[in-house]
């Protein structure tokens, strides 16, 4: 029989195509988003000017400024920049208190700390909004009392450049008055829960003082930007890492390669989870296909009996039923590919706009799509074996009476 005959059994054909299509849509959209997040993070790591990260948990690196100076003196190192992050209470007089994620850094390090794309969100004047590029308070100099606030916080506390705000470890603590020297565009532009996530950026040593970490000179991480000839030579990077490990055995030291490896390990775990969910959805979808095909064979019992009586061989019956369901699985899979890509893209756009980021969180690799398609088609073919076998094994006499399949 011609393959077009399949579509004359409309309900069976459409339900089968739909079930396979939904499975493929689920698998492709989930895989696309998982790959998209992976690629995005990988892209961030690759674009980052930090070639080695030294980190300690919970402000765990003490003497941050002095370690930074020592490492800066190493011949392989172009620059070292430190980062400290914590939550601060922000009070705008008469307009309430909000909690914001505070980022402490030395302004002149910002060009290394932020990507070029990120820096476009900050003011042009001075050093990204700060009047001085260095961190004067760190060397016993005066406080600058300079703070940059993000656009979400500026909007909600009605703050603008030139205003004064209070910063403290908590809302009940004594506030230190800072001058808002600039407003930068928040990375999170969404209207969902992320609209209430605020950021402030201030001099590293002043954040240390606010958090009571000035004496220990504690920071979270130190980022090493290596000389251009070193950063491209993986063996030199590895040697430097070993040297740093010997110098600072209590800190976690990771090269870009290590970061990517760690991320790949996490992705592998996520991939396992995703694969399990995907396989369950695939199995449910294809069992559904199997059920539809079995019902179809049962409904066609008499027809199959008549065909057998006419001299149609068991092999031909098997090929016909198996061929029919395989064609439907193939078509459902093909239909599911563009739909899965569309659904994945739509979901990614929705999440990105909810979070307020402009990145594309979806990536469809032709190899992944081909793998998913082959997986679905193979499992679909396996599932189709049962109805085909049932049809082939029918007893002619009882089948002609419309009896048991």
């Amino acid at each position: 029989m011609k393959p077009t005959q399949i579509f004359k059994r409309k309900k069976q054909a459409y339900l089968t195509v739909l079930a396979v299509g939904i499975s493929v849509v689920l698998l492709i959209s989930m895989k696309g988003i998982a790959d998209g997040i992976f690629h995005n993070t990988l892209d961030d790591i690759n674009k980052s000017k930090s070639d080695i990260v030294i980190s300690g948990s919970n402000h765990g690196i003490v003497n941050g400024h002095s370690i930074s100076s020592s490492i800066s003196a190493m011949p392989e190192v172009n620059r070292v920049f430190a980062s400290l992050t914590d939550v601060l209470a922000v009070r705008a007089p008469g307009r309430g208190v909000k909690y914001a994620m505070a980022q402490g850094l030395v302004p002149e390090d910002a060009q290394y700390f932020f990507t070029e794309e990120d820096r476009k969100r900050f003011p042009d004047e001075g050093c990204m909004g700060f009047s001085v590029p260095d961190d004067p308070h760190a060397s016993g100099g005066a406080w600058t009392y300079e703070v940059l606030v993000d656009s979400n916080l500026a909007r909600d506390l009605k703050i603008q450049k030139g205003d004064q705000i209070g910063l403290s470890r908590n809302a009940t603590g004594a506030m230190v008055t800072f001058n808002v020297t600039g407003v930068f565009k928040s990375e999170l532009q969404g209207r969902g829960i992320t609209a209430g996530v605020y950021f402030v950026v201030l001099h590293l040593s002043e954040l240390q003082s606010l958090l009571g970490l000035r004496d220990s000179d504690a920071v979270d991480s130190l980022y090493l930007n290596l000389r251009s000839d070193v950063r491209t030579d993986q063996s030199q990077v590895e040697d430097l890492r070993k040297t740093l490990e010997d110098m600072y055995p209590f800190y976690d030291i990771a090269t870009k390669k290590d970061q990517i490896k760690k991320m790949e390990e996490r992705m592998a775990m996520a991939e396992g989870f995703y694969t399990a969910i995907g396989m369950v959805s695939l199995m449910i979808g294809l069992l559904f296909v199997g059920c539809i095909m079995v019902i179809s064979v049962v409904e066609r019992t008499r027809e199959i009996g008549i065909m057998r009586a006419m001299g149609i061989s068991r092999k031909s019956i098997f090929i016909q039923i198996f061929g029919e369901s395989s064609v439907l699985v193939l078509l459902g899979g093909l239909l599911g590919i563009p739909l899965g890509m569309a659904v994945g893209t739509a979901m990614s756009d929705y999440f990105a706009s909810a979070v307020g980021v402009s990145e594309t969180l979806v990536y469809f690799s032709p190899a992944s799509i081909a793998y998913i398609y082959l997986e679905v088609v193979s499992v679909g073919a396996l599932v189709s074996l049962l109805p085909a076998w049932m049809a082939m094994k029918m007893d002619i006499v009882s089948a002609m009476k419309g009896g048991d399949a």
Partner: protein
């Protein structure tokens, strides 16, 4: 052409064994047109199924053209059914998703008849049964009589030597039934196809040359005299 020797068929229904055919002996010559009559449960359809290589006898032997088919494998029986036997059923049993032409082509496709030859035979057969203009119609677009004529054309597709018809006029009105019988009669006369027709209807049996009457799985009467057949 056909010879049955002591053919017995037993069916198991739960713990009960039913004797559908009991030591049936029968010889049918090539080109005969005969009918099988008998009350329900007398074994008519079982006899037809065994002769048609659809079912195996429990005991006894069946010969088709001198060849013992009672012990042949499923594959060999399928081949015999495809190439030597044509079936016509009471309820026509056309494949609903295929057109008249495709239904007729189906056994020819299985027999790997070349495309051009298939088309030629389909045209001839549809013309023979008077349905040349219904080639592209689906079964549900045809009347009962037309469907049965397509079924006859399908049964003739691979040019069988034997046609087995199980109540071929059972679902048709008298006029249409008469036309169908005329076609079967012509096929028998002009193409010398051996024809066995199971029927309840004496008017159908009267149009055949020999009537076998079955009762409780045995041949009660084997009528060959025209005068006796007329009395049915």
């Amino acid at each position: 052409m056909i010879e049955l020797k002591n053919v017995t068929k037993l069916y198991k229904m739960g713990d009960v064994r039913i004797k559908a055919l009991n030591r049936v002996n029968l010889k049918v010559g090539a080109g005969e047109l005969l009918s099988i009559m008998g009350p329900s449960g007398s074994g008519k359809s079982t006899l037809l199924n065994i002769i048609g290589c659809i079912d195996h006898p429990t005991y006894g032997r069946v010969f088709l053209d001198g060849r013992d088919v009672s012990k042949l494998s499923d594959r060999e029986l399928t081949r015999i059914r495809l190439r030597q036997i044509g079936f016509i059923f009471q309820q026509f049993y056309l494949i609903p998703t295929l057109t008249a032409r495709e239904n007729i082509e189906l056994p020819m496709r299985e027999a790997r008849v070349p495309r051009e030859e298939r088309r030629k035979r389909v045209r001839e057969l549809l013309e023979m049964v008077g349905l040349a203009d219904r080639e592209k119609h689906y079964p549900n677009q045809l009347s009962g009589g037309e469907q049965q004529r397509v079924a006859i054309a399908r049964a003739l597709a691979n040019r069988p030597k034997l046609i087995l018809a199980d109540e071929p006029t059972g679902e048709l009105d008298t006029k249409t039934a008469s036309k169908i019988m005329m076609i079967l009669r012509e096929l028998n006369t002009e193409r010398h196809i051996t024809m066995m027709i199971v029927t309840h209807d004496p008017t159908v049996a009267k149009k055949t040359d020999r009537v076998i009457v079955l009762k409780d799985g045995t041949i009660e009467k084997d009528i060959t005299e025209r005068a006796e057949i007329r009395k049915l």
